[in-house]
Each structure stands twice: as structure tokens, then as C-alpha cells.
């Protein structure tokens, strides 16, 4: 059987690369942690990979704004390759800082625009917070979304968040309507029973409680919570999960690997 190859892009300040690598390996893929300088040196290397990951961390210290410098660097030095890669339909995920990068490059909400349309701003609590939250996949989304990453999940799962800038903000109502209409808002913060949450279960004050979105085609996915930190039941505060062994975060990575196969 074909080995699925995953590229985990790292740079100064990236720090969730090892656990993200382990998560893909657990799902049967090969995963390489590749420094951006290597990729800039050899731009076409990116096309050797089936899946592209922007992991969490503090790229370049989050100076200026979260993910800003890295997204500029990618756009300026690897723009054509990244756009081509995204439009090819290969799975791309951006987690936490990686979500920021996807947004700031403009791969989300749509790589065709290739332009930043919304942002993830400072938490309402005005501080970095690390905690577990519940995430809901709405019925309509479950039925209609093309997102390849969020299939096979129960209605509500839990994952940890850890960020100071994760508040989903958009000044454009029409844009939000479109995201809703196209079932692109795949994760919203919620209570355990799926109902409307308050702080701290909405850890950042996101508009519409948005925690993760995908593009219309469904191959590009960005989210603030960290699925790579919940691939085993052991990692859950109460050791919950499925098959007595795995955490629900694993399903997210497995979906992408299975999609490629």
C-alpha cells in the first residue's frame, strides 16, 4: 500500500511539530518536519508530499501579530507553489498558529482569492489560556460540508486550546453568511450537550463561537484547538476516547490520510 507523505513545515518558534508528526505516524503516514529554509532552497520539494501541515507554536515569536511574519515569508518566497498546491485539492491543515498563517496567507476562506479576509485577534480575556473545550459539529455541516478533515466525528468532541490570539473576527457580514451557507464553519465552541457556551468554554470570544473553518472545497482546514494533543485517551483529563485507546483528535488526522489513499 502507498505510504502517505506529510510535510510539517517548521521555522523559528514552531513548537507543535513533534506531536503533530507523531499523530500522522500513528495514522500510518510518513511525516517529515521540514525547515522553511530547506523548502525555499528547493521549492518543488513541496509537491513530493500528499499533505501539508502548518503546526502550532509562535512562529518568529508572533512579533507584529500571530503568524504574520511567516505568512508574509511564505507568500513572498513560496507563494506560487503554495497556491498551486492548495488548488490541487491536497489536504492542508493549520493548527493554532498554523490557522493564523492560513488566514493571513489567504488560503482560508478560499485559496482562489489568496487574500486575507478575516482575522484571529486577541482573546477577550486579554491573556493566553490553556484549557480543554467542547467542539460541536452542527447537523447541517455534518450533512453538507465538504470538509475532509472532520468526518466520522461524534456531535460533540473535546480538545485542548492554548492561545492568546484566537478570537475569530470579521467585519463583513456577508462573508460570515457565506461561510454558514456553504457549511464551512465546521467547529464551534459549545457546551457538552451542544448548547451555547459562555466564557471560559468559549475561550477567546469568537464571533459565532467559531473554532475552526474549511474552504468550500473542503481540503483546507484551520482550527485553533489542538487535535494533535488528543490522539490517545491518556491525554484526556478524564481519559475518555474511543476503542479504549484513542482520542478524537486522531480521527481528524486519519481522515486526511485515508482521503489520500
Amino acid at each position: 500500500m502507498k505510504k502517505v507523505k506529510t510535510l510539517i513545515l517548521r521555522t523559528a518558534g514552531t513548537n507543535c511539530d513533534y506531536e503533530t508528526q507523531s499523530a500522522f505516524e500513528l495514522c500510518g503516514a510518513v511525516a517529515d518536519r521540514v525547515h522553511i529554509n530547506t523548502l525555499i532552497e528547493k521549492k518543488n520539494k513541496i509537491f513530493e508530499y500528499d499533505i501539508l501541515v502548518f503546526p502550532g507554536g509562535f512562529s518568529y515569536g508572533d512579533d507584529i501579530a500571530s503568524g504574520k511574519i511567516l505568512s508574509n515569508e511564505i507568500k513572498n518566497k513560496l507563494g506560487d507553489e503554495i497556491k498551486k498546491y492548495a488548488l490541487s485539492g491536497r489536504p492542508i491543515v493549520g493548527i493554532c498558529n498554523g490557522f493564523q498563517v492560513l488566514v493571513k496567507i489567504g488560503l482560508l476562506p478560499d485559496p482562489k482569492f489568496f487574500k486575507q479576509i478575516f482575522t484571529l485577534s486577541c482573546n477577550d480575556s486579554d491573556k493566553f489560556e490553556c484549557r480543554w473545550v467542547y467542539l460541536k459539529v452542527e447537523k447541517k455541516v455534518r450533512r453538507e460540508s465538504n470538509c475532509i478533515w472532520t468526518k466520522n466525528l461524534p456531535d460533540v468532541i473535546s480538545l485542548p486550546v492554548a492561545h492568546g490570539e484566537g478570537k475569530f473576527v470579521s467585519g463583513n457580514e456577508k462573508f460570515l453568511d457565506n461561510l454558514n451557507k456553504n457549511s464551512q464553519i465546521v467547529f464551534r465552541y459549545s457546551l457538552k450537550d451542544g448548547s451555547e457556551p459562555e466564557y471560559p468554554l468559549v475561550p477567546n470570544g469568537s464571533i459565532g463561537h467559531v473554532a475552526g473553518i474549511c474552504n468550500k472545497k473542503g481540503n483546507i482546514f484551520g482550527l485553533m484547538p489542538h487535535p494533535e494533543r488528543y490522539v490517545f485517551t491518556l491525554q484526556h483529563p478524564a481519559r475518555e476516547g474511543f476503542n479504549d485507546r484513542y482520542g478524537w483528535g486522531k480521527v481528524i488526522f486519519q481522515n486526511a490520510v485515508d482521503f489520500v489513499i
Binding site: A12, G57, P237
Partner: protein, 814 residues
């Protein structure tokens, strides 16, 4: 302004004693008269005056911070007990107590102790785990954010610089601070408000630790007014290292490579400044400036270079900067450094400033000439600056040049062994501890005391701090600092467990981290303070599933001025306890650190901190699946207390909130509690324990309440069933008597655990306990009411668990 990069000569050959001392003071050398005389004699023999850089090098190498001269010096100790005096001479306190215990215990799983930047114990057949805790007190008093950030940054570099470099897996932090809600008018002039210090030090650890991608998983914050002027900031890091990367080698002809941050004028005199009392004129320029992303880049690239075997030794640039790093590496063979090659943040540094600057994020590598190009390429590929600044020689001398001129040339032997041994006097008077008069309280008084205890700064939730730290990054924190049965509610965990599955593929093992400290006990009895700190650290680790036979500990002393015989006396007493308790539990010390001179002058008045010993524990857990958390799990399960409850309220939180005088400080009974610890481990390994919590500050009442409210459950406890011990070592006023309900509930006796057991496991559990002291005291209930009842004394305390949770939860929110 014109700057100079000149090197100057310091004329000392003909100075009088007074002038020598004046020079030491003026140039912030922190050298004593004896030491200055030895320096003068050395240069007399060389028939020349020293240069400024030579004086600075000696001062740095001989600083308390780098040399630990008090703990390794001569001490004349006198102890007075019951009017009788005993004397003892210590030639080297550290070697005759703490270190001695480890040598005598001779554990084969201790791989490297007291010789490298951190202690290392065995993790599995191929890997070791390293642990180090440091203090960064004086910088944090002046500049809390920068002080704590560089504190954590520095200890992370200790782990990068142990052996050939370990990969950091977790951080710990412990703060001792003043009350953040204190009235501003009560704060002495020239001192930051405790709230500002607290916000600053938490942000510092948060920003540095989070950006390094290392989870901060364990710690505590201790509040006492004695820390207003001189807060304590302890930072620790644990990392994992292949066994074949533990040894360093330095050979003649090897090149010296400095890697990472550039050198600037920040942190000049950090090493010597740590042995000077703080006052309002203290120089903020002694505080370093941190940049975590530079350190993160160094970490990423150096692990690559390590695995390619591109260097022979590495050490961090910490206190004393290049002087300390190169000096240590080259002390047996000699070294030459071309100071003009050191990359600088800006021009204008004088040679001595380059040499002793404590600018951050720098590591020094020893590289064989054949690998130099390769290693520089590895670093440069990841945008890390790496520059060759000198080489190791075989002349046993330290030679420094600047622009081709020799600016220093000294014997390594003099530099490292020339320091005269000071003699210090120490005195300790063992004070008598009397059991207080019976504490008679009615149900409502006990009830309100319980709520006040939970809200007390030293017991209340530290969630405001913990959640600002990313304690989940790396995905390996399987027993977390805050523990709950769901994600909405959580209580205070006893210890954290790291499951290093991303580094050691296929492993089942874990690493447990915990700590113990209690400065209140030290105000009364420093022996018991130290003994209790060790016991508490062990108990915390055992409570989550550690095997006491596989735990190692670190000591961190923060005391006042060691030239004060009474302060030094209490330090000696504490080290005696360390020896006794380490030996009795067979738990070795693997590394440690002392920070003395924690005091501050205001208007000529000396303020000294309450002395404290922090014990940090690290253990290896065979199977991470066999770990437990502290919230109660299921209604109907039985609750046991293991260990004996004694009338020990001296220094307790209860005695503080009720203004109680006297009382006996909790003692440690090693054989009794070691036996219980082993049995808890067996029971957890056989999956017989549902929840386990250490019983410490606030006693049984607080421990049981925490287990209940963190599970959103109720509990029914029979106070009369608690196994108490009435034959006390110290006599009670009014003779031997039975303990009152308040005393049973709030006593802080060591060696106790609260344990939850399923009814159908009871028999097996009791079989394991055998002859250990335990008692079944109640059960978990479904009505969310926390009830403690004594029929004997006609007392019934009843509180809603949500109310108790709120009492505990809402104190700290800055």
C-alpha cells in the same frame, strides 16, 4: 559619547587592606578581604598588576553563585538544645550531608549527580532524564518580567547544556511572594508592589516557557509578607537524553564555538550581584534581556548537531557568561579566547564586559577542527549564529586577547583552586515546641474555618497562573496540574506526569514531577521544615502513582545572609535533615543549588526572607496507564486515610488564620511513611485506587473537600474514625489528651494520604496495606454535601461542595 574598548591595569600590589576592600566594593567584585589578599599575593608573585579583565574573571569564578563557597567552606557549628551545647566542624557542608547521602545510597540508576549542569537518572535502557531547578531572585525583585523570563530561559539552557544536550520536556516554577492584595502604603519605599511582582513573574515564565514549546506542568506559589522585599523565583526544567550522550570531552586543539544570541552589556555582574544585599540603588543593568525564539532556534539546531556527533562538549552561558562557560570547560587543560571575535549586539563593549556579560541564549561548544565547517553549516541553515572564538590549549592557562594584545593570562589552577576557604560561624538553638491548649470549636466555627482555609492564599486555586502556561504543549502531559472528571471543573493535582511518547517511540514509561516546601515550619524548626519538604515532595509524586524507590530529588536553598550565624545555623540544621531523610527514604539527591544573601536594606534596616528549602522530585513511572488523579470518581466508593494524624498544628495554615500560638511542627517518620508509600504504589499498580490525594496544608478537611468539589460530589466523613496518635513526643499543656475535632481535621501531619476505593476492591486493598496504619473514614455521596461528623464531640460540619469550590477558586484573579 565616546566609548573606549581599552583594557586597563588595576593597581593592587601596594594597596592596604582597607583599600583592597574598597576596590572590591567599588568594582562590584563581591570579594572578601581574605580573597583580595590572595589575589594580591598571586600577582605579587607574577610581579605585575592584574588587568581589569583578570580581576573580573577572578571575581566571577569565585562568586558565591558559581563557587558555593558557604556550602563548601569551613563552618563552625554550635547547636543548643535544652541548655546543652554541642559543637561540630564542617569542612564542606555539602559533601558531608546532602552529597554524602547520595554517595552512600549509591543507586545504580543515578547516571550523573552533582557534576554537570543537571542531575541525570535512568529512564530506560537507552535513555536518561535530567532535572535542574534554579533561582533567579534578585533580578526578579528589580525587574519581575525580565527576571523570571531569563530565569526559565537559563534553566532550560542548563538542560541543553547537560552532557551533550537533553531535549527539554517540561518546566516547573515556584514563586514565594508577598500578598498581592496588600495595601500600597504598607510597601516599603523602593520596592515593587507584590501584585506587580506577581503579574510580572507569571508573565515572564508564560512568555518564555510557552514560546520555547515546553509545558510548565508543576509548581506552586507561596505567600508570606517576608517575601515582599525579596521575592523568590525558582524555575526548573526536565529533559530527556540518550545515555550515550551524557559524557563531555575536551581535547587539546578543540575549537571554541559560541552559538546563539549575541553578547551585549546586559547582565553585567549578574553572578557577583547575587551575593550583594539589594537596596534601592541596585543596578537594573545586572538583569539580562531574554529572547525565547533565539533559544528555540538554538535548541532545534543543536539537537540536530548532537545527533550528527558534531561536537565533543557543550555548556551554557549562564552566570558569569563566557568566563564561566569557557573557564569550566578548559579548567584542566587551558584555553585561549580572541575576544574581538565574539559577535556583539552593538559596538563599544570593553573586553572585560564581553567576557563576563550574561547576555542570554548563548551556548559554548567544543568542536574538533575537522567538524567545524559542518557544525557551523547546521546552525546557519536554521539562521543561528555560530562563531569560533578560540581554542583549547595544553598550557593550563587562561589566555584572553583583544585586537592581538594579551589582556589576561592566568593559571587555571589559581583561578579554580586558589580561592581561600572562609570559616563561618553557625549557631542554632532548638526551640521547644508545646502542643497548644485544646482547640474547642463548635460546628459553625469549624465550618467557617474550612471555608477560610480553602480561600487562603497558600491553599486556594492557582488556576489564574496555571492556565496562562501552556501545560499541554508537546502533548505528553498525561497527569495534569489541574485535575477533574470533566473539563468544566478541576482541583489541585499533587504532581504531573509526562509520557514522552513523541521522543521515545513505543515507550510505556512516564516521568513524574512534584515539589515540596513550607517556609512557615522553618520559622519554628528548620530541621522539620527540610524533612517535611522532602516528605511532601515524595508524597505528591506517590499520590499520582510513582514508586518511591525510583524517585530522585533536588535541593534549592534560599536563605538570608550566611554571615549571620543564626541564619547559617538554620541552614546547617536543614542540611542535616536532608541527609537523615534522604538516607531513611533511600531517595538520592541528584543536583541542587543555593541562593544566599536574600535580604534587602531599607533605611539601614535589614530585612531577611523567611528561609526556605524547595525540594523538587523527579521519578520514573513504569507504566503511565497506572496513574491516578485526585477527584473522587464514584458515589458509594469508600474513603480511607492512610497514616497517623498527630496533634501537629505548629506552622499550619490553620494556626495562621486563627492567630494560634505554639503547637508542634509536623515531624517526619520515615519508616512509617515509606512503608505506606510502597503500599500505595502496589495498590495503584493493581488498579485498586480510584483517587488519591496528599494530605498537607489545611489537613484532612481541606484534602477531602478538594477531592469532593473537584468531582462535583458530596462526601460523608466520620471524624471519630480517623486514626489519631495521642502519645506525643512533645508534652501537651494539661498532659496527654485526645485530639479535638478541629485538631484532627486541620492538623498537617506528614505521611498521610486520602484514598478512594471501590467497595469490591476493599479486601484486596486491605491485604496490601497489611500492618500499615489506616482507617476507613467515610464514603462518596451523591447529594453534593460535604459532611464531617463527630458523634463523640457532637460536631457536624456540612457544606455544599459548590460553595467550597467557589471559596477555593475565587481568591486569585489579578
Amino acid at each position: 559619547m565616546k566609548y573606549t574598548t581599552k583594557c586597563e591595569t588595576i593597581k593592587i600590589l601596594n594597596l592596604s587592606n582597607e583599600q583592597l576592600l574598597e576596590l572590591s566594593k567599588k568594582n562590584l567584585l563581591s570579594l572578601s578581604l581574605e580573597e583580595m589578599k590572595v589575589v594580591r599575593n598571586y600577582f605579587k608573585k607574577l610581579k605585575r598588576n592584574p588587568t581589569d579583565i583578570e580581576m573580573e574573571t577572578i571575581a566571577q569564578t569565585w562568586s558565591e553563585h558559581c563557587k558555593h563557597k558557604t556550602l563548601t567552606g569551613l563552618i563552625e557549628y554550635t547547636e543548643e538544645e535544652n541548655g546543652k551545647k554541642t559543637r561540630r566542624i564542617y569542612n564542606n557542608l555539602l559533601k558531608e550531608t546532602i552529597f554524602k547521602a547520595s554517595i552512600e545510597l549509591n543507586k545504580t540508576w543515578c547516571l550523573s549527580i552533582f557534576k554537570d549542569n543537571a542531575g541525570i537518572i535512568e529512564f530506560d535502557s537507552k535513555n536518561g532524564v535530567a532535572f535542574k531547578v534554579e533561582t533567579h531572585n534578585h533580578p526578579s525583585a528589580l525587574e519581575p518580567y525580565g527576571g523570571s523570563a531569563t530565569g526559565i530561559g537559563g534553566v532550560i539552557r542548563d538542560i541543553l547544556g547537560v552532557g551533550l544536550g537533553a531535549k527539554p520536556l517540561a518546566n516547573t516554577d515556584v514563586f514565594c511572594l508577598g500578598d498581592p492584595n496588600m495595601e500600597a502604603s504598607k510597601i516599603p519605599k523602593g520596592v515593587h508592589h507584590p501584585k506587580r511582582i506577581m503579574k510580572g513573574v507569571v508573565s515572564g515564565v508564560r512568555d518564555y516557557g510557552n514560546k520555547m514549546g515546553i509545558p510548565t506542568v508543576n509548581g506552586t506559589t507561596y505567600f508570606d509578607d517576608g517575601y515582599i522585599v525579596n521575592p523568590l523565583v525558582y524555575c526548573g526544567t526536565m529533559g530527556i537524553i540518550p545515555k550515550n550522550k551524557i559524557n563531555k570531552k575536551v581535547e587539546f586543539g578543540d575549537l571554541i564555538l559560541v552559538v546563539g544570541g549575541r553578547t551585549g552589556r546586559d547582565g553585567i555582574h549578574g553572578a557577583t550581584f547575587s551575593s550583594i544585599q539589594l537596596d534601592k540603588k541596585s543596578a537594573v543593568s545586572a538583569v539580562q534581556i531574554g529572547n525565547p525564539i533565539i533559544e528555540k532556534k538554538v535548541l532545534d539546531a543543536m539537537l540536530k548537531a548532537r545527533d550528527l556527533n558534531l561536537y565533543r562538549a557543550v555548556t551554557d552561558c549562564g552566570a558569569g557568561g563566557l568566563s564561566s562557560a569557557v573557564g569550566e570547560l578548559g579548567k584542566k587543560i587551558g584555553a585561549v579566547v580572541y575576544l574581538d571575535k565574539v559577535p556583539l549586539k552593538y559596538d563599544g563593549l570593553r573586553p572585560w564586559e564581553i567576557w563576563i556579560s550574561e547576555a542570554q541564549e548563548r551556548m559554548v561548544f567544543t568542536v574538533s577542527p575537522k567538524n567545524i565547517e559542518k557544525i557551523i553549516e547546521v546552525f546557519e541553515k536554521e539562521d543561528v549564529e555560530a562563531v569560533c572564538i578560540g581554542k583549547f590549549t595544553n598550557d593550563k592557562k587562561l589566555t584572553l586577547t583583544y585586537d592581538g594584545n594579551v589582556v589576561a593570562n592566568m593559571d587555571m589552577k589559581f583561578l579554580h583552586n586558589g580561592i581561600p576557604k572562609p570559616t563561618k560561624r553557625a549557631f542554632y538553638k532548638v526551640s521547644e515546641e508545646k502542643i497548644q491548649k485544646p482547640i474547642e470549636m463548635d460546628s459553625s466555627e469549624i465550618s467557617s474555618s474550612l471555608a477560610s482555609l480553602l480561600a487562603d492564599l497558600n491553599i486556594c486555586s492557582k488556576e489564574w497562573i496555571i492556565r496562562q502556561y501552556d501545560h499541554e504543549v508537546q502533548g505528553q502531559t498525561v497527569v495534569k496540574p489541574l485535575q477533574g472528571n470533566n473539563i468544566e471543573i478541576s482541583g489541585p493535582g499533587d504532581a504531573a506526569v509526562i509520557f514522552p511518547y513523541t521522543v521515545i517511540k513505543g515507550t510505556k514509561k512516564g516521568i513524574v514531577l512534584s515539589n515540596g516546601l513550607n517556609p512557615q515550619y522553618g520559622k519554628i524548626n528548620s530541621y522539620k521544615m527540610a524533612a517535611s519538604a522532602i516528605e511532601e515532595a515524595l508524597r505528591n509524586a506517590v499520590a499520582v502513582g510513582a514508586d518511591v524507590r525510583r524517585i530522585s530529588i533536588l535541593d534549592n536553598f534560599c536563605f538570608g545572609n550566611p554571615n549571620d550565624p543564626e541564619i547559617l545555623g538554620s541552614l546547617v540544621r536543614a542540611t542535616k535533615a536532608c541527609y537523615d531523610v534522604s538516607k531513611a527514604f533511600e531517595v538520592p539527591f541528584i543536583s541542587g543549588k543555593d541562593s544566599l544573601h536574600n535580604e534587602y536594606f531599607i533605611n539601614g534596616k535589614r530585612y531577611s526572607i523567611p528561609s526556605v528549602l524547595l525540594i523538587s522530585a523527579m521519578g520514573v513511572i513504569e507504566n503511565v496507564e497506572n496513574t491516578v488523579t485526585m477527584p473522587f470518581k464514584k458515589n458509594g466508593n469508600k474513603i480511607f486515610v492512610l497514616g497517623i494524624t498527630r496533634n501537629e498544628l505548629g506552622g499550619s495554615v490553620f494556626s495562621k488564620i486563627s492567630n494560634m500560638k505554639g503547637g508542634a511542627v509536623p515531624n517526619v517518620f520515615p519508616s512509617e511513611s515509606k512503608d505506606i508509600m510502597k503500599k500505595i504504589y502496589s495498590a495503584i499498580s493493581e488498579n485498586l485506587i480510584e483517587a488519591c490525594h496528599d494530605c498537607s496544608e489545611g489537613g484532612i478537611a481541606v484534602a477531602v473537600s478538594e477531592m469532593a468539589f473537584s468531582a462535583n460530589k458530596g462526601v460523608k466523613i466520620d471524624i471519630d474514625a480517623v486514626n489519631i496518635y495521642s502519645h506525643l513526643e512533645c508534652e501537651s499543656e494539661g498532659g496527654i489528651r485526645i485530639m479535638t475535632p478541629a485538631e484532627i481535621l486541620f492538623s498537617e501531619s506528614n505521611g498521610r494520604f486520602i484514598v478512594e476505593i471501590k467497595p469490591n476492591n476493599e479486601e484486596k486493598f486491605k491485604k496490601i496495606l497489611g500492618g500499615a496504619v489506616f482507617s476507613e473514614i467515610g464514603y462518596v455521596s451523591d447529594d453534593k454535601e460535604v459532611i464531617f461528623e463527630s458523634k463523640r464531640s457532637n460536631v457536624k460540619i456540612q457544606q455544599n461542595s459548590e460553595f467550597l469550590l467557589n471559596s477555593w477558586h475565587n481568591t486569585i484573579n489579578l
